[in-house]
Symmetry: C2
Subunit: 302 residues, 2 copies
């Protein structure tokens, strides 16, 4: 079923102990769309500048990604530069140039307005809300990402869009900040009162946790000997998760568990190389093989 994503398409400059790239296509919506397209058709809504050429747009070509919602306007695309620490678990932002992203006002092409699955990547909650009002029928699943900036600066607007959110996908520190509660189980209960029925806590090297009315499900991070660049891991996770949910067409407990695994699979591939390099060459059979590897990693019998 069609999956809509709204978020950033950007250029990234990335540095880690394993290398450096000056300018590569990135952005939450890019990672999400590429990851999700292994599972389902994706409708992309984002904004780029004139510096985003056909060659750059190649990342979306020959995939199930509809780019009619990728608006191109005069100016430069969103640019982010960051450097990771030796262990990859800390990062410094070296530059954030919003450029055309500053005027982003997502407009859904007519063909997108029937999307049944929606992912609102980390952007201004007011824009996230405006996207939902443009979708014709209440979507089957609305998933949302956000960050400390919006939790602190626009709490009212964030609360408003959360009322219409089914799955909140944030990291552990955002979970604690949003709920003002350190314990993640208590934090989840608090967040359920705001609207979401499911909370997916992304915990980086410690994996991910799903909390909902059916209980808790934990999936570890895939053990890698040499992850190179964590950029986009969370958005690739979200893409794998929502791509699988949309392809399954339901949100039973079994589906959500599998979605957590596919999310972890996509996140683990994303960090293996710089930027989108690993996702570019990824095959569906590699995804399936790694999902089976997650079984080996976690399964036991009593």
């Amino acid at each position: 079923m069609s999956l809509l994503v709204v978020g950033s398409v950007a250029f990234d400059a990335l540095e880690s102990p394993f290398g450096k790239v000056d300018r590569t296509v990135g952005g939450a919506a890019t990672y999400f769309a590429v990851a999700a397209s292994f599972f389902t058709h994706v409708n992309l809504v984002a904004i780029v500048g004139e510096d985003f050429t056909e060659e750059h747009a190649n990342i979306f070509a020959r995939r199930r990604i509809d780019t009619r919602g990728l608006e191109r306007v005069p100016g430069n695309s969103f640019f982010w530069a960051g450097r990771y620490s030796d262990n990859l678990n800390e990062r410094v932002t070296l530059a954030t140039e919003l450029n055309v992203f500053e005027t982003f006002n997502p407009k859904l092409p007519e063909e997108y307005r029937d999307s049944r699955y929606v992912f609102l990547a980390n952007i201004d909650p007011t824009l996230q809300r405006s996207v939902l009002t443009q979708v014709r029928r209440k979507p089957k699943v609305v998933a949302l990402d956000t960050m400390n900036y919006w939790i602190e600066r626009t709490p009212g607007e964030l609360r408003e869009v959360l009322r219409h959110t089914d799955v909140l996908m944030i990291n552990d520190s955002e979970t604690r900040q949003l709920s003002n509660e350190h314990n993640l189980l208590l934090a989840a209960k608090h967040i359920f009162k705001m609207g979401p029925k499911s909370l997916v806590i992304k915990r980086g090297e410690h994996g991910a946790t799903l909390v909902d009315s059916k209980g808790v499900f934990c999936v570890p991070a895939f053990p890698l000997e040499e992850p190179q660049d964590p950029t986009g891991a969370g958005d690739s996770f979200a893409g794998g998760f929502m791509g699988y949910v949309a392809s399954a067409g339901s949100t039973t407990d079994a589906v959500l568990r599998r979605a957590m695994v596919y999310g972890s699979v996509l996140g683990s591939f994303a960090v293996e190389r710089f930027g989108l390099d690993r996702l570019r060459t990824l095959k569906k059979r590699e995804i399936d093989a790694r999902a089976r590897h997650f079984l080996k990693l976690t399964q036991f019998r009593l």
Copy 2:
């Protein structure tokens, strides 16, 4: 099969945001023995002072714990005082009084010398090694815990006992320190060259990871809304793990996976109340129920 544990039996003064106890029986060997005794017979070797009364020793009574190796000598028992931070993930040591523990020179009672499973809790590696020389036949499994103090101060002695160790059970920071390697997979490879065939990395609220030649197995921490006191969690984990291994009498992959789960189960119960309070009243059927809960927490089908 008989399981030998050598380590500390002590008094602890504990403070956390959830309360305070001035003086309660603790020590690594105590937590280990109580946890393991749910699965198998335990031979305890430790030293206490005259302040350790029959009433204190009650924690071992009516359990499958042989205390013929619990030496009582003039002086006071080992005493430790610590305070935990608001989130329980940091702790300050307020006092460490070794007392009679300073002269601890473990001597195995004749009846213990046929123990087939051995756990060397965190003590001086020279003493750990001396215990192994007193065991008559090469044990089926020797598991060992250690800490930064020994890794830094007695690296040679630690290396010597590691040559005779099958399962090393330490936390993530100790794993990194011992191997001088941040990535835990690479750290494990490094540690395998030192002797151990299996590495169990205790990761606190992030669960535990087993690495061996068969691969990696991850188990999450059991989600608790209100853990009260982390003291003894790692030793209770070790007790559940080794108790189960000894009761199973083998170290197949399936057994080690189950041992990881039972370790996590015992660790999760230990933190629910102060000191040994929760383990004191724990029933085998509660252990089995929580192990099944771990299935719910982690299992999925593709």
